[in-house]
């Protein structure tokens, strides 16, 4: 018999079985959707957690205050030196005048501070450089590079000296959040695998007598198992499509409700829309493989002789 004819018969049998055991199929799909949805929910929560941590990390920066008599060329040189470091994400330089303007803006409502400034004949502030590191753990290294005598003599102070502990805390929170998020995804994925495994086993258990009958009328082991494998893949495809639809429906409203909290996009929509092909490949492929292997094993259990 040609392979095509056999395959067509097996696929037809799988679809027939799917249609004629509609309630069983629906129940199994619901379980698969719940398993997939729980994993995706956790992936979403992890994205929000990571983005929140990143938001917090983005708020961290260090300002370097130069002495009033520091030469502008030296400050510019320091700015370029810092910009060249791979650990530095951004280095903004402000001249003494710009620093004064900024200071005034920041204390616009404080009459006493502004009055005190007016009492002075000259600008009390020097130039400043605001540095943002790629990672909070990079700050100690960046600060170490500024101990170069070429710059250190011209530096008045650094905010890092006051905020080092807080920056380290932010770094620890970020690392912990990422680790917990990843661990939870792994745990939920394992639970989901067990749920799917059992759902398929139960679905096949209900058809164990039919497996025995197929065998008695001369069906080979593969001929008995293959329709269950195909049927499992059909169930997985339905579950995947429904889960994707639910995510697509829920994403805009979840994203909108988080906009205020995150002061802009929470990054959830962007994450799922940009990485859906990978998700489809990993979750779809994983689920299809899982149900196929489970179906093969579970059906085989009822093929005695």
């Amino acid at each position: 018999m040609s392979l095509i004819v056999t395959s067509l018969r097996l696929i037809k049998a799988a679809f027939q079985n799917f249609g004629r055991n509609a309630w069983l199929a629906i129940a199994t799909i619901v379980v698969l959707v719940l398993a997939l949805a729980s994993v995706n929910l956790l992936v979403g929560v992890n994205v929000l957690l990571v983005n929140a941590t990143r938001l917090l990390e983005d708020k961290v920066d260090v300002t370097i205050f130069f002495k009033r008599d520091a030469r502008p060329e030296l400050v510019t040189q320091a700015k370029f030196f810092l910009s060249e470091l791979p650990q530095v994400a951004m280095a903004d330089m402000f001249t003494a005048e710009e620093s004064l303007e900024k200071f005034k803006e920041q204390h616009a409502g404080d009459e006493r501070v502004l009055a005190a400034l007016n009492e002075l004949d000259e600008n009390p502030l020097g130039a400043t450089i605001r540095v943002k590191a790629r990672n909070p753990s990079d700050y100690p290294f960046i600060m170490e590079t500024l101990k170069n005598p070429q710059f250190s003599d011209a530096i008045e102070s650094k905010t890092y000296d006051d905020h080092a502990e807080a920056i380290a805390n932010v770094q620890r929170i970020g690392e912990r959040a990422r680790a917990i998020g990843f661990s939870l995804i792994v745990v939920f994925a394992v639970i989901a695998v067990l749920i799917v495994f059992n759902a398929i086993r139960v679905a096949i258990y209900t058809q164990r007598e039919e497996i025995g009958i197929m065998r008695l009328v001369g069906a080979g082991s593969t001929y008995v198992r293959a329709p269950f494998v195909f049927q499992g893949i059909i169930l997985a495809a339905f579950a995947l499509a429904i889960t994707a639809g639910l995510i697509a429906l829920a994403l805009p409203s979840i994203e909108a409700s988080l906009r205020t909290l995150y002061g802009g996009s929470a990054g959830l929509h962007a994450f799922f829309t940009s990485s859906w092909p990978q998700f489809l490949a990993i979750e779809g492929g994983g689920l299809a493989l899982l149900v196929a292997v489970t179906s093969w094993i579970a059906a085989g259990k009822y093929i005695k002789r």
């Binding site: 027939q16 039919e210 009958i213 197929m214 065998r215 009328v217 001369g218 082991s221 005695k304 002789r305």
Partner: protein, 227 residues
């Protein structure tokens, strides 16, 4: 056609279901295997379709030694024997036509041949009008006729019927026995496992009586003798 030589079957821990059974069944015979419940009749049937392996002895079917048949050869064997069960063993989610066609599909028969054979065998058992029905929509007698139709699709040389009338009333029982007799007239060897006295006595064919796992009588035109 069927040869059993010193066949024994022992189930753990030490239950002897068949003991040293030797039996020869010639092509075209109609043999009734009778005995009380637990005598070993069903074990004998299971050995013939390789659902069980003998503990000792050899079994040959049409010259094929199936004593140590390999797992992957079992489907081939079952396509050559027609099998009829007391509990019908029809696929509940397939129609009458599909149930019969399934036995051909698993053997890799082409569509064209399936479309040709299935109506023929359904006509033989008188169910051509009910081909689109599901087993649940048929009476017990009709379900058993579907099973017989399914067993005939491969034109088997042997038809094994294990208590085929056990779940049927007198009228349906007679219909099924008449059908088996008709099939036998076309040359198929029939092995009928039963404990129905009327059926056996009405057939007036060879009767093999089993008691406690042993053949206690084998008569060419026998009667049901168990009390």
């Amino acid at each position: 056609m069927i040869t059993l030589r010193n066949v024994s079957k022992t189930y753990p821990p030490n239950v002897h279901s068949l003991l040293d059974v030797s039996l020869d069944i010639a092509p075209g015979e109609f043999v009734s295997i009778v005995g009380q419940s637990g005598a070993g009749k069903t074990t004998l049937a299971k050995l013939l379709i390789a659902e069980e392996r003998p503990t000792r002895g050899t079994i040959e079917l049409g010259g094929w030694d199936i004593t140590r048949i390999r797992h992957r050869e079992i489907p081939m064997l079952r396509r050559q024997i027609g099998i009829v069960f007391q509990d019908f063993k029809l696929l509940p989610k397939k129609t009458v036509h599909e149930n019969v066609a399934f036995a051909l599909e698993v053997a890799g028969e082409p569509w064209r041949r399936i479309r040709e054979i299935v109506p023929q065998v359904l006509k033989i058992v008188g169910l051509e009008e009910k081909a689109a029905r599901y087993p649940m929509q048929l009476s017990g007698g009709e379900q058993q006729r579907v099973v017989i139709a399914r067993s005939l699709v491969h034109r088997p040389k042997i038809l094994l019927a294990d208590e085929p009338t056990g779940n049927l009333d007198t009228l349906n029982t007679q219909e099924i026995i008449d059908l088996l007799r008709k099939i036998n007239e076309f040359g198929t060897t029939i092995v009928l496992v039963t404990h129905n006295r009327e059926v056996v006595n009405g057939l007036r064919r060879r009767v093999v009586t089993i008691a406690d796992g042993r053949i206690v009588s084998d008569e060419r035109h026998g009667k049901y003798k168990i009390t």
